[in-house]
């Protein structure tokens, strides 16, 4: 086991680079890499106006437009049946609410007439 360690040490020693063998680092490489790291730094947040401008110039993708259209059509069909019914009732059928209102109107008119009549007696 000692021999193994001794051999390991010898091999490590002989695998070392001597001073004249040491490869030289190129400072240009380091500078280039430093610049690339610097580019990763996040820019400070833009102001409200810039955000607004950014929002106004947003690119809308085709699928987003499609999705919005689909949503609009869906909402239209979900809402439209009740609207249509009201229209139909107004034009063709007898509206019970309107009947009741007209009934209540005539009742009011009758009361008014009776009131006037009693006034005229007095």
């Amino acid at each position: 086991m000692d021999k193994k360690h001794e051999l390991d040490d010898i091999l490590k020693k002989h695998m070392e680079f001597s001073d004249d063998e040491q490869p030289e680092l190129n400072p240009a490489i380091q500078n280039e890499l430093r610049k690339k790291v610097q580019l990763r730094k996040k820019q400070p947040k833009a102001g409200i106006i810039n955000n607004l401008l950014h929002w106004l110039t947003l690119d809308i993708k085709l699928y987003q437009a499609g999705l919005a259209m689909f949503l609009l059509v869906f909402i239209f069909f979900a809402v439209s049946p009740s609207g249509t019914r009201i229209q139909n009732i107004g034009s063709n059928a007898i509206n019970p609410d309107t009947t009741l209102a007209s009934k209540s109107n005539s009742f009011k008119q009758d009361r008014f007439l009776v009131k006037n009549f009693s006034v005229s007696i007095n």
Binding site: L7, H14, M15, Q30, R34, K36, V37, K41, K42
Partner: protein, 193 residues
Amino acid sequence: MTSKYSILTDGELMHFIQQGEVSAFDELYLRYSRPLLRYFTRMLNYDKEKAEDAFHDLFLKIVEKPEQFDKSKSFKTWIYSSAYNASKNYYKHIEIVKDALEEMKQTEDILDEKFLLTAAAKMDADSFKKSLANVVDALPLEKKTTFILRYQEDRSIVEIAEIMECTEGTVKSRIHYTLKTLSEKLTIYNPLI
């Protein structure tokens, strides 16, 4: 002069590099530039230009895609693993060693460590170093990487296995193979003859 980054771990430095901290990069570069350039120089048979290219590409990966660093691994293992893969691609590309990916045959021979030690003692340091360098240079990629990581970069067997994604047994067997080759090359110095 020590910067505040000098006390940070490699993983922490990678975190700051992701955020664009140049000083964190400087510290990491200081720690790994020389060993990695030495590694590539040896791996690429002392071709300075090619070693520099490989070294540059590796550090470019660190600064451009630091998120690729697997935090579950140690940085040292990750960086040497990337360096190994870079040299592997390079070897594939230029076909320096055609049998680089050849399966290693398990050798049952018993290595005579005593012989190697005596030969090393008998030879002058320069001759031994030269013989060793010649043997290492001529090795296929896998064995060469193993040997360089073990004896030049001082990595443990476990670390090498992790870097090269193989078993510890394979690492030991590759080292054994290289030492056997070295013994054969140094037969002329055999004190018993």
